[in-house]
Symmetry: C2
Subunit: 244 residues, 2 copies
């Protein structure tokens, strides 16, 4: 069975099932495992000794939460992360995750709509983690991300995107041409339709999908190796798509 | 700086700080990372192809929660875990973690004080995970664990204990002789005084202690390798103990 690329609707439905009474996961659990997978992906491709300074860019939604968890684990791995989060999420979990970063002495840029702090931070960055927009993104790109995304792209720094590159449509990809072009992508749970033609290094994370759910949605996930939390997808895994 | 072995009081204090408003961790986060480290430790020593059938023995407290998380990850790793949990914790989190195991089709033995189910389960087990009692254990060993611990010991199966072998005093170790003698031990956060003379393979997990906390309590934790969630302690790490 080949791997299924998810529509926006299906991605949303799987997320809801995982966190329903039947799925029984808390968002804390899923975010912790997702963020760990993000950090491990970046560390696998961009080793600490050559790429110590990571700018973790976080959006206001769940994806930003994954980014904050990733920043903390990157700190644990010995990187020097800093966080760009101009629109902090209002939920309690974001405040707790941000506090955990502070306790790791990870700098968080001041939350302003002025992008000059971002411009400065990029000058002392080796690699970017893009955790800005996730699968629920709908255009237009709102301020200050309308200015931030071009700055990230123009920096020419390597970019690791989480789940869906920021600015891409979850189903149509980067057809509108407004999105980032990351070097590395970590799909979470299962890849989305919009990244089917992604040509960079593509990893899968989110080793928490129970067999029952995998069968129900015919996800056809590839096996993860050993005790790892991420698996790199090769070209053989990529072409698969179930008829809808 | 050598690694510090924690008193019961200090272990409790560190746990409380991690989950305080200042530490900002939720129990869901810490249990997820602890349980993942438990599963990875077992899988590192007892490979799936030779030890597929794991009996995860869970107590009624937080340690039992770590065990449930470990059982789920072991299922993800391709093991065939089953859970012995005769006294399920009453908190909501245990119910959710147990449900997550059910969704992974992991059998949970019926919660009875009769140990005949345990006796039968041991006949089809390759390795035991002991997540029964943690650092807050105080004798006497209550039913049905008073009967269960001897059965586990008599089974002669390899045992991986979580944090402190069940039946051991957190500071005095197994002086009373009532505890298990595991082959492998995973200390969480930092090792406890009672396991200072443990002679089996000893791992450390809980890669979530912020630098500030590590400094405050002078933990002297060894570095974890790369992106790993566990580190094996060797004899050089072991003798260290700070003057109190």
């Amino acid at each position: 069975m080949s791997m299924r690329y998810l529509s926006a609707r299906l991605a949303q439905q799987i997320d809801e099932e995982l966190m329903s009474a039947a799925g029984a996961f808390s968002i804390d659990q899923l975010m912790e495992l997702a963020g760990l997978a993000c950090a491990q992906t970046l560390a696998t491709v961009y080793p600490r000794d050559r790429y110590p300074r990571v700018l973790v860019c976080c959006g206001p939604g769940n994806q930003g939460g994954d980014g904050l968890v990733a920043a903390r684990h990157l700190g644990m791995f010995g990187y020097k992360p800093q966080v760009y989060m101009p629109k902090p999420g209002s939920k309690d979990i974001y405040k707790r995750l941000a506090k955990q970063c502070e306790n790791m002495e990870i700098p968080i840029l001041p939350p302003t709509t002025d992008v000059s702090d971002l411009e400065n931070a990029l000058k002392s960055t080796d690699v970017i983690m893009d955790a800005i927009f996730g699968f629920s993104f709908k255009p237009p790109i709102r301020a200050p991300f309308d200015k931030a995304l071009p700055l990230l792209a123009e920096s020419r720094l390597p970019i690791v995107s989480v789940d869906i590159p920021s600015g891409w449509d979850v189903e149509e990809g980067n057809k509108a041409g407004l999105g980032l072009n990351p070097n590395v992508l970590l799909s979470l749970t299962a890849p989305k339709l919009g990244v089917k033609d992604f040509t960079g290094r593509h990893f899968l994370g989110g080793r928490f999908v129970p067999k029952s759910l995998e069968k129900k949605f015919e996800l056809g996930l590839p096996p993860y190796p050993g005790i790892e939390q991420i698996v790199e997808l090769d070209s053989e895994d990529k072409p698969g798509e179930l008829p809808m």
